[in-house]
Point group: C2
Chain length 400, copies 2
């Protein structure tokens, strides 16, 4: 009974918070003149730049479409039309016609500003289109999204996921964790949309899981952000880099796959090493919060921003601990979820305006006061709240 009340209370909290957050985006981020979404929005909704960032366009299209698909109260034409307008802006302006790459940023009216030698803008472009295809049943979004994914897979195979980056004899062939993580989230999206995975994508899933598991090092005591392509620890500060938020996010990605496939071994690894282990190593005992970067041998990380507390590692950890609780029933994980969720709401949320702050100092003071910026859009906060809402509802249903 106590558990049921706990679930009901939390369900209420996350749904209310989700609605406050989404109201912010619906109110302040739509560019009614040129389409697409503004990326630079101050604490009270004012624009401080009109640049549009590619990652964030794709992510917002995905977020709107997923909400439309998953939660009844968001299944309305306002959300869907905004997603469509975002997707049309992306398809018209984000893609470079010759290279098939997407621009990292464009002007308000869609002229290209910057292009990166990575695959990430392209991945978010595809994610958004697939989920919108699921919402609209319009083939053109699915066709375009899948074509981009096949192109991405080709870049991963032929250019080690960094198209155009020169290969130099002193740079090791590196397995960077965000590449298989990103690809795994594409495969998960395809499975969500198509219901059954084609063999070629099922093979990619196997490859991604294997690549992510290579990052478990030193007898399972650390998750390293970069390892050699043979799965060995790399020398120097790059080899010792630990990003708690990423490791925990990889944890729930793996746990999600393990649950879908009924793979108990993978489930254990995801929870023990990626979620619990990374949380313990990444948590700031003194001030609370997860560090952005650490060096696993205790040297000062070279990243100047290492000690900041960012919003997204915390939203990922909230998802991870609730998923661990749902899938194991162990009270231990509910306790961690409580601790994390209350820290996160207290330090990051802005009940008055909706969307959360993103960047705190080590002592949890505001380091930046904007709600949206070049790397922060309509994605991590509502994704976490939506996923928590869905998990809590499932638990309540089961508990009935």
């Amino acid at each position: 009974m106590a558990l049921r009340v706990w679930m009901e209370n939390h369900l209420q909290k996350v749904s209310d918070e989700l609605d406050r957050v989404m109201n912010f985006w619906l109110k302040y981020s739509h560019d009614e003149l040129y389409g697409g979404f503004f990326s630079c929005i101050g604490k009270n909704g004012q624009l401080y730049d009109t640049l549009k960032f590619g990652w964030l366009q794709g992510r917002q299209v995905w977020m709107y479409s997923r909400l439309y698909n998953e939660l009844d109260r968001y299944r309305n034409s306002k959300i869907l039309n905004a997603a469509i307008r975002g997707a049309e802006f992306m398809m018209a302006n984000l893609k470079d016609k010759n290279s098939k790459k997407c621009y990292f940023s464009v002007t308000r009216n869609g002229r290209p500003v910057k292009i990166q030698r990575t695959i990430f803008t392209e991945c978010f472009y595809a994610l958004g289109l697939l989920e919108l295809g699921r919402a609209t049943k319009d083939e053109k979004y699915l066709v375009e999204g899948l074509a981009m994914i096949d192109q991405i897979i080709d870049w991963v195979k032929t250019e080690n996921a960094f198209p155009g980056l020169p290969k130099l004899s002193g740079s090791s062939s590196v397995n960077v964790m965000n590449v298989p993580m990103m690809l795994l989230s594409l495969v998960d999206e395809i499975e969500t949309v198509m219901e059954k995975l084609e063999d070629k994508y099922a093979q990619i899933r196997e490859w991604c899981i294997k690549q992510i598991l290579q990052h478990v090092q030193r007898n399972g005591t650390v998750i390293l952000e970069k390892v050699s392509s043979e799965g060995k620890e790399l020398p120097g500060f790059d080899g010792r880099m630990f990003c708690p938020g990423h490791a925990i996010e990889a944890g729930w990605f793996l746990l999600n796959e393990a649950l879908k496939m009924g793979d108990n071994e993978l489930k254990k690894t995801a929870i023990k090493h990626f979620i619990k282990g990374s949380y313990n190593r990444g948590w700031d005992e003194k001030n609370g919060g997860l560090f952005y970067f650490l060096d696993v041998d205790g040297f000062s990380p070279v990243q100047l921003e290492w000690s900041l507390k960012l919003w997204w590692p915390h939203t990922e950890a909230i998802i991870a601990f609730l998923m661990a609780f749902q899938s194991t029933g162990k009270q231990y994980f509910a306790t961690f979820f409580d601790k994390l969720f209350s820290y996160t709401l207290k330090e990051f949320s802005d009940p008055e305006m909706g969307e959360w702050y993103g960047y705190l100092t080590r002592e949890n003071h505001l380091n930046q006061d904007f709600k949206a910026g070049p790397y922060k859009g309509c994605f991590h906060v509502p994704r976490a709240l939506m996923m928590c809402e869905i998990m809590l509802k499932q638990m309540l249903d089961k508990n009935n």
Copy 2:
């Protein structure tokens, strides 16, 4: 008399500090096995990586050679041989034979790791070789250094200083202040080595000064890091970016040129707008220290590291205020120099080990404890101390 005592006291302080700092580099940074200089050195001298960064190889060759050329007690074979070994490592390993570009980083034994689409590694490569040519009188260093400078000038003219970066229709043609600053320091180096500037370099000097002056905006109240190529303010956060350390450094670069050329108008602008104005706008009144980045309209800067106190803005400010004092005789600047110098020594120096710490939080706590890292080498601290020593000696001589 009081002034003379002040000068003598400060001369003693900066010379002692310079020797402590240089002892650190002489003791811990030389790679006796492969040549060149280690770039990643912890607080007590221990290596935390063996990567070698191109900027720092060139800067250290320059620093050793300049000390050899300028200060009697450094005019010895130990310093000169170390500079030669550094230069030989650079010439053998830093340059890409095909593109004439230099690598941003190489492995300990010189295999290329990373190359940037900028001109900065190449500039420090040339600076180091020219100053070493002045020390050794060996033509080969001068020839190689000048050839690289001509190549750099070509990249500035034909590729707007970013060789290989794609030109996209939405990205404005930008005048970034570090490009003319860097080029101006190359011209100053050529003038130091050759004594008389060829016309083609004198023209570059004029161009650099004009380009730097374009960054004075809003009726002289701000120095903006990026302006349009026509010298207008750019929209958005990039246009509002202010980097106090850079603006003050540009100030003493301009003041130095003004003094050499007897240009009184330029001298006034350098002191009033670049040095005094930037100091006033960039100083943290609450905790002391210069911020790394600010937004001139008071928005949160998008750089996560904006509020950190870095060592180099302070070494540049020390040079700038002492140069302003030397060239105007106004007590006002000596007072500022005192305030800055005592803040900087207190917060950054490490009397026990020599070289300074580099990165403090807004509240002046250590954010990173290493002495050398990917962007911090044997350059800003000893350059500032050496220049202050020379200026104080000149003032004492004149005061005799």
